[in-house]
Amino acid sequence: MNITVCAKQIPDPANEITYDNGLISRPEEQVLDDTDRYGIEIALQLKEKYDAEVTVISMGPAGTQKGLQQALQMGADKTLYVDDDSLRGANSLMTASILSELAKTTNADIVIFGTESTDGYTGTVPQQVARFLKLDCISYIKGIEISENVTLTRQTLEGSEKVVMPEKCVLSVTAGGVEPRYPNFKDIMAAKQKTVEKVELASLSMNASQNLEFLDIEKLENNKNGEKIIDEGEAYQVVIEKLKELKVI
């Protein structure tokens, strides 16, 4: 079985996001999106059952490849990535098109995603890839039970529901469903020997085009300059008075 996990390198979320002409500025050193750790964890659990090969695929400025290394350190077997200047500002459909083509080169049976990236938050790429690949899409997975079958729990608006994982499908995984593993020193050293391969954009077919034109970005002044009180034991009274004033009590 071939399992492919789509992962994204993003600017360290600890730093403030900056924009350049409507696009997120991407430093040389980017990290693995935390959201992707859940997908990789599920891939690794499936690998243990099926003795599968886990390939991480990625699109975007590769830079120092730190994020890709982090994926390999967790236990993925190899990485394929596309990094091409012409993809700068690619919309979600273009991204999904490229990732679908990359997934085809890995002969993927199962393609796994986080539900949405921490920097872009569009949250549509997993489903778009499923549609491009004409595979069933099991979205918003928040739990996995591996026994004879693989049972996936989906988050729904009102609660949850379960499905048995089809032999070929696309999964999107929410944060919190599984506990991503932390690599130890041995894993970190082993990752350095693994394959990180750049795939040329020209070798893939692109089945989408840019239909979104950036117009404007405007920073809002969020600071309300509200009243701020340091509690010295009596601040609860201020809250109660305010709740009375607001006619909450």
Binding site: T153, E218, G226, I240
Partner: protein, 305 residues
């Protein structure tokens, strides 16, 4: 501009997210019809003011790609050029599938839009509402996923008059359907919301928040961190990936205010924040900020009201 609004059913009625979009479509004078997808048997979703079509899905089969096929067909046959959908699980799946069929990348997290010279211009709130981002859509189909609470819902009488379409089952069966019990005021429509974050330190301390919520008849929310930690069900998550709330009063207890959380609550009318860390970003949004230990302050409030 011929428009299709993708509706949803909640509690056997048209969801508030759908009613918000209908209200905006009316305000813009759009020529629209509604196609609603749900699994209820006979929801009350019809209206004398617009054409409603109900795609009834089976709750025991994952049919979304078949439903997308049906929607694609309607969009092509009816020459629809604008698709508006609430940003929910179901609609995100459907709109994403449709974007491939229609070769048009959707715009997610839309909080407003306008039509100018036959083009759709969208406004997004990014970085937790820190910035506003404007996009012009250049394609024959414009697909928008709209954040809840972006517009005021329309107040209309609903009926049971609409056409119903059924779609074929897929090979993926659904089982063990679980519905979370709803009790007390619900996040989306409560006038007062009290939310908890990591600053509550441990799950047991949520009882302080629950006591206060009972006294104020408030709904309880939480940050992604505590929902991921299993302290609260996902349905109570406030933020980018959870719910958007706009109560009269929002009380943030032990919440630092990551942008992810801010986007779900920043439009609340009056925000009270209690947090130990004076530098916490939540204080920038707060009308009243208390720098102190939530675990001391909330019990004292409870004892004195």
């Amino acid at each position: 501009m011929k428009t299709l609004i993708l509706g949803e059913v909640i509690d056997n009625k048209l969801s508030s997210g759908t009613l918000e979009i209908v209200s905006k479509a009316n305000a813009l004078g759009l020529d629209f019809r509604v196609v609603t997808v749900g699994s209820s048997d006979a929801p009350v979703i019809g209206s004398s003011t617009f054409q409603q079509t109900y795609i009834k899905r089976s709750s025991e089969s994952l049919q979304f790609s078949n439903i997308a096929d049906k929607l694609s067909q309607i969009i092509q046959e009816e020459n629809i050029s604008l698709l508006l959908a609430p940003s929910t699980y179901q609609s995100r799946d459907l709109v994403s599938f449709l974007s491939v069929d229609l070769s048009s990348s959707p715009v997610s997290n839309v909080i407003n839009f306008e039509i100018k010279d036959d083009s759709v211009i969208t406004t997004n709130s990014i970085n937790g509402g820190e910035s506003i981002y404007k996009t012009k859509i250049i394609s024959s189909h414009s697909l928008l996923l709209i954040r809840p609470k972006s517009f005021d819902p329309i107040d209309i009488e609903l009926n049971s008059e609409y056409q119903t379409i059924e779609v074929e089952d897929s090979s993926v069966e659904i089982f063990d359907i679980f519905k979370e019990e709803k009790s007390g005021p619900q996040l989306e429509d409560s006038k007062i919301v009290i939310s908890a974050g990591r600053g509550m330190v441990e799950k047991e301390n949520l009882s302080f928040v629950e006591d206060l919520a009972n006294k104020l008849n408030a709904a309880i929310g939480g940050t992604r961190a505590i929902v991921d930690a299993g302290w609260m069900p996902y349905s109570q998550q406030v933020g980018q990936t959870g719910k958007t709330v706009k109560p009269d009063v929002y009380i943030a207890c032990g919440i630092s205010g990551a942008t992810q959380h801010q986007v779900g609550m920043k439009d609340s009318k009056f925000i009270i924040a209690i947090n130990k860390d004076e530098e916490a970003p939540i204080f920038q949004l707060a009308d009243l900020g208390i720098v102190g230990d939530t675990l001391n302050i909330i019990p004292k409030i409870n004892e004195n009201i």
